[in-house]
């Protein structure tokens, strides 16, 4: 595919504009880096926005401890290649300090606990803006999100009282203790992201391509198996060819049965798919307003 795809070009122009507004309006700036494709695309856009200078953001990873090994390696390499500061804060530390209690049981996930670790990190590091890879097409609470999303001094989002955002004038003014979350790829869909990755030849962790992996089925979702995971008696681990459609905490990231080896194959697969990306995310299946509630509390 060709780079001169008009709609991708416009989405890129918009995202770069937003990145530069962040650089100009804030002091202590981080990109929330999960090692997933959306955060990798953010880093790529930042590289393009500030060339030939180094990107003016640090990378912040909120580590649940439940990682795909490979993403950590990818993360470390990327940070050193860019010459930017890599900050890692651990959910395990928040648990040890009693800031949050670990969920128990088969569906236990550290996804929700991440918000506490993230907000603590924002306070500790005096971060006034955190750039995230959230997209409006992902989920209905996200469909309401602004590019520049204000957070009060408790780190909370008030979806009913958001700042109006007109044209491309982004107002990042805030009072002491407040911060902003900024979402430069708000208007991208999953397919746009993949087409962009293909057109820009962005390197991704190999987890996104087909590989053999031990998995099991829980309700309608295939989950990657890891030694610390608790299984229900009826669940059986087996090995097959899969790829990840999103990469996050291993306990709640669904995998897709797929033989796609190239970006072209992945793009075709995504274009034909009939299930949303988050349909494979166990954390969203909990309730109608699961995402809205987590976001109010300070989630990504």
């Amino acid at each position: 595919m060709n780079i001169n795809n008009e709609h991708l070009k416009e989405l890129e122009n918009e995202a770069i504009f937003v990145m530069r507004e962040v650089a100009a309006q804030f002091e202590r700036k981080v990109i929330l880096f999960s090692g997933g494709k959306d955060s990798i695309v953010l880093v790529h856009l930042a590289k393009k926005a500030f060339w030939p200078a180094r990107i003016p953001f640090s990378l912040l990873h909120i580590d649940t401890g439940h990682n795909f090994e490979e993403t950590l390696e990818f993360r470390d390499n990327l940070a050193s290649e860019l010459g930017v500061e890599l900050l890692v804060r651990y959910v395990q530390d928040s648990i040890n300090k009693g800031r949050v209690t670990e969920e128990q049981g088969v569906n236990a996930s550290r996804n929700k606990a991440q918000s506490v670790t993230l907000l603590d990190a924002i306070e500790e590091l005096k971060i006034d803006v955190a750039i995230g890879g959230g997209r409006r097409d992902e989920e209905k609470a996200r469909a309401k999100e602004r590019f520049f999303s204000h957070r009060n001094e408790f780190g909370q989002w008030d979806p009913k009282n958001q700042r109006p955002e007109l044209w491309n004038i982004f107002n990042g003014r805030k009072n002491m203790g407040e911060h902003f979350r900024v979402f430069p790829i708000s208007n991208w869909t999953e397919l746009d992201v993949w087409q962009y990755i293909m057109s820009e030849s962005i390197i991704l962790p190999s987890l996104y391509y087909t590989h053999k992996r031990k998995i099991f089925r829980r309700n309608d979702v295939f989950l990657a198996w890891a030694p610390f995971m608790k299984l229900k008696p009826t669940e059986e681990v087996f090995e097959t060819a899969v790829r990840c459609r999103t990469i996050g905490d291993i306990t709640c990231t669904g995998v897709t049965l797929s033989g796609a080896q190239t970006l072209e194959e992945i793009v075709s697969e995504i274009a034909a798919t009939r299930v949303t990306e988050r349909g494979g995310r166990y954390d969203d299946k909990r309730s109608e307003a699961a995402m809205e509630d987590r976001k109010r509390e300070g989630y990504f």
């Binding site: 008009e6 009913k160 700042r163 007109l166 009072n175 949303t276 809205e292």
Partner: protein, 422 residues
């Protein structure tokens, strides 16, 4: 639906939808998403569950467009929601806005980035007060293409005379509002007539279906006029050994085209220079046009930074410390007469005082009220600002970027108003 990933061009159209409660806006959007296969299986399953829980007989596609808990509970749309769908020709971004008068500010927000506005009318009711209000907002925000969808044609026996009467009424409104490019399509969002497929019930209608229309309508390449304008967002100074003296001005072209070698004037300093290079990342390009995010270097070492505007010497914007705007008030705290605010026009900031409220618009009747100078949430008025330093700007009609501004409250830091420079 086939997605073209074979490298052919695919453009992007942003549109906004407005209609009063129950005109069928959600049904229309639901149908577009459904027929373009943009509703996924798990979302559909979810909709079916929610519909059942709410005691509905059929799956209610309108639930798809309500995002927040309060909206689902109260059955209303509070804030703008963005939706995405694509056909082989185009990618679409819908800013779905609430139509009620108490959410005028959200309509204004949704309309500010739109290339096209869709306004729904119930065929049984014809042109109502809110139709005029929605049309006014679309014209105020300078949206060129407006599509009036006369909906629920199935309830008026798909009658051509009914459609024609409403179309004639609408044409008068469009005329009065100087809407450049109005269109009229008879549809039934519920049954699907003229939405994606042509209607067998309305053979008298020879125009395009709604989808075909938005797929083919020409998107004006430069939304921002022909005068070259480049607002600087930030200065890039690598200070590395390789790029020791590099000083690049990062920004997004807000009008016209710039090329290496072009003579420019840097505002506000009025210093002249020429463009040495234009970069998109590592690539040196021959030109940058409206909408492009680029980095420009100049032939001279001169003072420029965030808030500077590059323009050609023969094509200067207006320079004044008195600015007239059509303002939409956004905040719960009303405008303070003679109050001080921060004004943001592209990347340029200044302090300002409200000098006068000249008249207020009754947006239902389009009457001007010269006696009332109070401005509360959702009000639209013509006001005059005095700024602490002269600003460089264009009329909104000529340029949506250099011609728009926001007012920010110094104490709360909130955006309290949006203004279109007249």
């Amino acid at each position: 639906m086939k997605i073209n990933n074979n490298g052919s061009q695919k453009s992007l159209l942003r549109f906004t939808t407005a209609g009063s409660v129950d005109d069928g806006k959600s049904t229309l959007i639901g149908r577009l998403l459904y027929d373009s296969k943009s509703i996924f299986e798990d979302q559909m399953e979810h909709l079916e569950q929610s519909s059942r829980r709410l005691g509905k007989e059929e799956t209610d596609l309108s639930l798809l467009t309500d995002g927040l808990r309060a909206e689902r509970e109260q059955g209303i749309t509070i804030d703008v929601a963005y939706r995405y769908f694509a056909t082989p020709e185009r990618k679409f971004i819908i800013a779905d806005t609430p139509g009620h008068i108490q959410y005028t500010r959200n309509m204004v927000t949704g309309a500010s980035t739109a290339d096209l506005a869709v306004i729904l009318i119930d065929a049984r009711k014809g042109v109502l007060e809110q139709t005029i209000r929605h049309s006014f907002i679309a014209s105020l925000l300078g949206i060129r293409h407006i599509v009036f969808c006369i909906n629920k044609m199935d309830l008026v026996d798909f009658s051509e005379p009914v459609f024609k009467d409403i179309r004639n009424d609408l044409a008068r409104v469009a005329d009065k509002l100087e809407i450049e490019d109005p269109h009229y399509i008879p549809i039934s969002a519920k049954k699907g007539d003229n939405v994606v497929e042509p209607s067998g019930n309305m053979e008298w209608y020879k125009g395009k279906t709604f989808l075909r229309f938005i797929e083919t309508v020409e998107i004006k390449k430069s939304r921002n006029g022909v005068s070259p304008r480049f607002p600087v967002q930030t200065v890039i100074r690598p200070q590395s050994s390789e790029h020791h003296d590099y000083r690049g001005y990062a920004g997004r072209v807000a009008g016209g085209t710039f090329r290496p070698g072009d003579e420019i004037v840097v505002l506000p300093s009025m210093l002249r220079s020429s463009i040495k290079s234009i970069n998109v990342y590592e690539k040196y390009v021959n030109e940058a046009s409206s909408g492009d995010s680029v980095t420009i270097t100049l032939g001279d070492q001169i003072e420029a930074g965030r808030g500077s505007l590059f323009v050609p010497p023969g094509n200067m914007p207006v320079n004044s410390h008195e600015i007239n705007i059509m303002a939409c008030w956004f905040n719960e705290i009303p405008l303070r007469p003679n109050g001080r605010y921060i004004v943001r026009n592209y990347s340029c900031e200044a302090n300002c005082i409200i000098k006068s409220v000249n008249y207020k618009m009754d947006i239902n009747t389009l009457e001007k009220d010269f006696t009332d100078s109070s401005l509360t949430m959702n009000d639209i008025a013509h006001i005059t600002l005095t700024t602490s330093k002269p600003l460089f700007f264009d009329p909104y009609k000529e340029n949506h970027i250099t011609g728009s501004l926001i007012l920010v409250d110094e104490t709360t830091s909130e955006t309290v108003a949006a203004g279109m420079i007249t």
